[in-house]
Amino acid sequence: MKDKIRKTIAKFLSVDEKKIKDETGPADLAEWDSLAHQGLILELEKVFKLKLEIDDVLEMESLEDIVEIIENKIKI
């Protein structure tokens, strides 16, 4: 799951996957600014066929956070 999410983020931001470490989040990369983050949330919803609520969005501050939130959503 983590690799799939990493790939999705890297593809969406057009960056090398190696740049997306567990702790990487918005504003750590020039390509992952606040605007890209908003778009990325919609992309994650599309790829993983789920709906992210505002509380989920606020918690998504790194790859690790995103993985945890998406895994929990999918379990439900």
């Binding site: 504003a27 605007l35 908003q38 949330i41 919609l42 969005v57 918690e59």
Partner: protein, 484 residues
Amino acid sequence: MDNLIEKIFNGVFVNNLTNKIAIKTKDDEITYSNLANLVASTVEFLKRKKLKKNDIILNALGNTIQQIIVHYASFLIGIIAIPVPSYINRNNASFYIENFHPVLIFSNSEISSLFKIPAIEINNFNELEKITKNIFQIYKYNINNKVNPNDIISVLLTTGSSGIQKAVKLTHRSINQAIDNITGFIKYTNKNKEIIPIPINHSFGLGHVYCTHVKGGSVYLLDGIKSLKEFYYAFKFDYNGIALTPSIIKLLTFEKTKEKTLQSFNKLDYMVINSEVLDTNITKLLKQNCSNLIIYYYYGLTEASRSFFINLSLEKEKYYKSVGKPTSKDVKVKLIEDEIYIGGNHLFSGYMNSENSNIINGYFKTGDLGYLDSQGYLFITGRKKNIINVGGFKVSALHVSETLKKIDGIEDIAVISIFDSITGEKPAALIVGKNLSKEKIMNFSNKNIDFHAIPKKIVFHEFIPKSDTGKIIIEEVRRIIEED
């Protein structure tokens, strides 16, 4: 004339506000009495470091309590503390050293390797307390006597059309007058409590700290909107105002965060916006959903701070694109061949690193084009300067081009502004060269160019379209970039 910082603390003591919170952040808060004590300790600390009036230091502590403490302490002694972004790269460091010859730098990151001058690294608020603890003393009134209104007391950086950051010299007179203008227009009191997510190394953010403190109000400092969680957390407290740019508002009113943003803004009494006119649809959205919110917009460069103000909440739609009227009677305006010239006591007193101040007979030639309507409302129609306005951050296309040319393999380059639905404008680069990749360009950019100035679109091409005289044909460059 009074020193601004003395004015702040004298007002606090006279009005018995010493136990009131002066500055709050996510992790810390400080009362006015503790702020006064730490400022006094820092004054002593700087004096022991043999710093004196007119010495220059760099203050790269970001939107933190310690940034304000160092700034206020410097202000009291007459040391010129230039606030610079907290992210310093090798390029910036060379520029600062060559142009300002600083004798000391305060930073919250590892920057010693970039400078050959003493650097004090303070990663958090407690560290500042530690370094000044042994000289801790109770703040005394009248550290300085009256000041000369024309003495330079602050220097703020802004990007000029030449491609180089300009160091705008501000005097006691210009700062005091600008604060009088703003606090008079907005009617600041000690009830004002402002959330400030914009950088306080710029005139917009720092001005809000001054205006709030001079009336005994409180500020809540945020490091932009990098963390949405931290941004919305600030609204849990009873803060009643906010300073924001239109691009941030636009981002926050996107689909996912729109409802939460409107709920948060509805808790406020006022919002101050600068850098570009707010989109009419967003103005309408805010007016419809935040009934108690007063929306102020102002126009004024660092050189002529807050010259025009408009209260959008009181205006009809036809004035949503206006920047309003002069902030006070002290602000004068005239238009010469559609270019805006501004006069008044709030004007800067020249640039530290340029002899040409663009002040002609007491009026600053802004480089902005506009017109006044029959009711005296000013409308901005464009810019003479080749500057890309990335959501309020001024980026020089020329400077970005010159920096990128240092990359091996780049033979020619044109950096232009392209449309961005959020920030209004963003930099894009058309590049000619060999053995290049987007990744190589981005890696270099991340290390050498400020975040907002990094081209968000890169296109490789066989040539840069130029006229017979060698001038880049911007529209042709734009067509190629947009078609890619």
